[in-house]
């Protein structure tokens, strides 16, 4: 099984005056070779977007997001109130209906009683 974390044990310090073999290897690879010089540099700065412009866009996006969130709060309140009103009226009708049914049962008992 391969270790997940890299080995962080410090390398032994090189002898004074002598160059470590690993560092010598790195120095060798960093030195531009003849082949590398012929390949054009692939790095090119992003044109047309300054940091200031990006910050402005981000700020506008944040303002728009805040506005949408605030608007949604208004929309949720408005729709909630509308449906609560209709639900409230529905409950009022249901309670009235239960009272009427009880009244009708009482009347039926009253009519059936003497007979």
């Amino acid at each position: 099984m391969e270790p997940i974390l890299p080995d962080l044990t410090p390398e032994p310090a090189p002898e004074p005056g002598s160059e470590a073999p690993a560092q010598a290897e790195v120095a060798k690879t960093e030195a531009p070779s003849e082949d590398a010089k012929s390949v054009p540099d692939e790095y090119a700065p992003v044109a047309g977007r300054s940091l200031k412009e990006v910050e402005q866009v981000r700020m506008l996006e944040s303002v728009a997001a805040q506005k949408v969130a605030r608007d949604y709060q208004h929309v949720i309140w408005a729709y909630g109130i509308l449906w609560a009103l209709f639900a409230g009226y529905g409950i009022f009708l249901w309670r009235r209906s239960a009272r009427l049914r009880a009244d009708m049962d009482a009347l039926r008992r009253e009519l059936d009683g003497p007979a």
Partner: protein, 231 residues
């Protein structure tokens, strides 16, 4: 048979259309350029406003018939319409300021349409108070108030034309782009069916309550003539 199940059918249809209309409003409708997402309140605020006015007119006409013919059904229609006018009016008066706060930055500007709608709602509230808590002879006074409320309806409609108001003119709904119309119709249909379904149920209840009262009176009279105690 159809008449018996019509209110239930209307409520059922409304229960089906409501989720569809909300899906259309929130998923298929583009966000309005100047008002943003708060514009979505329009899809139920405007139908509620129309229904408030319609209920006030129905209440006024039924009250006039009640005054002339002393009809029990007209009395029930007037009371049911007033109750639903009260509910729809409250909906308009609460959602309007919420929308106004989001778009105008102020919940209440006190313009002519707001004031005349608030006046209509107060008239309906007064009518309901008299009908529910007034003495036995107060039905005629209540009917007079209902007719006064119906007269307020054209004032609300033409308020935006007669006076300078923050509300848009009456032409704005007609000039909606097709995408917004397509979302407006289902919402209007759902709320219309729901209101008329509830109204039908309430009328039936009121007529039944009146018939029950008459039956109780007849039972009491019969027992009084028989010499037995009705209680």
């Amino acid at each position: 048979m159809i008449r018996r199940f019509l209110p239930d059918g209307m409520l059922l249809a409304s229960a089906v259309i409501f989720p569809y209309s909300v899906a259309r409003i929130f998923l298929d409708t583009p966000i309005e350029r100047t008002m943003g997402t708060a514009f979505k309140i329009f899809f139920f605020h405007v139908p509620m406003g129309w229904l408030t006015m319609l209920m006030a007119v129905i209440c006024g006409v039924a009250a006039a018939i009640e005054l002339r013919r002393r009809s029990m059904t007209a009395s029930a229609v007037a009371l049911a319409a007033a109750e639903l006018g009260f509910v729809c009016g409250l909906g308009v008066l609460l959602t309007g300021p919420i929308w106004g706060n989001a778009t105008w930055g102020k919940p209440w500007t006190g313009d002519a349409r707001q004031m005349s709608t608030a006046l209509l709602w107060l008239v309906i509230a007064a009518y309901l108070l008299i009908r529910h808590y007034g003495p036995s002879g107060s039905k005629r006074l209540a009917a007079g108030l209902a007719i006064f409320g119906a007269v307020d309806v054209p004032i609300i409609y033409y308020a935006v034309k007669l006076w300078k108001t923050t509300h848009p003119t009456t032409e704005v709904v007609g000039s909606l782009p097709p995408a917004l119309w397509a979302a407006f119709w289902p919402g209007l249909g759902a709320i219309l069916l729901c209101t008329f379904g509830l109204m039908g149920l309430r009328i039936r209840q009121l007529v039944l309550a009146e018939q029950l009262d008459e039956a109780w009176v007849r039972v009491s009279d019969r027992e009084a003539t028989d010499g037995t105690d009705p209680t």
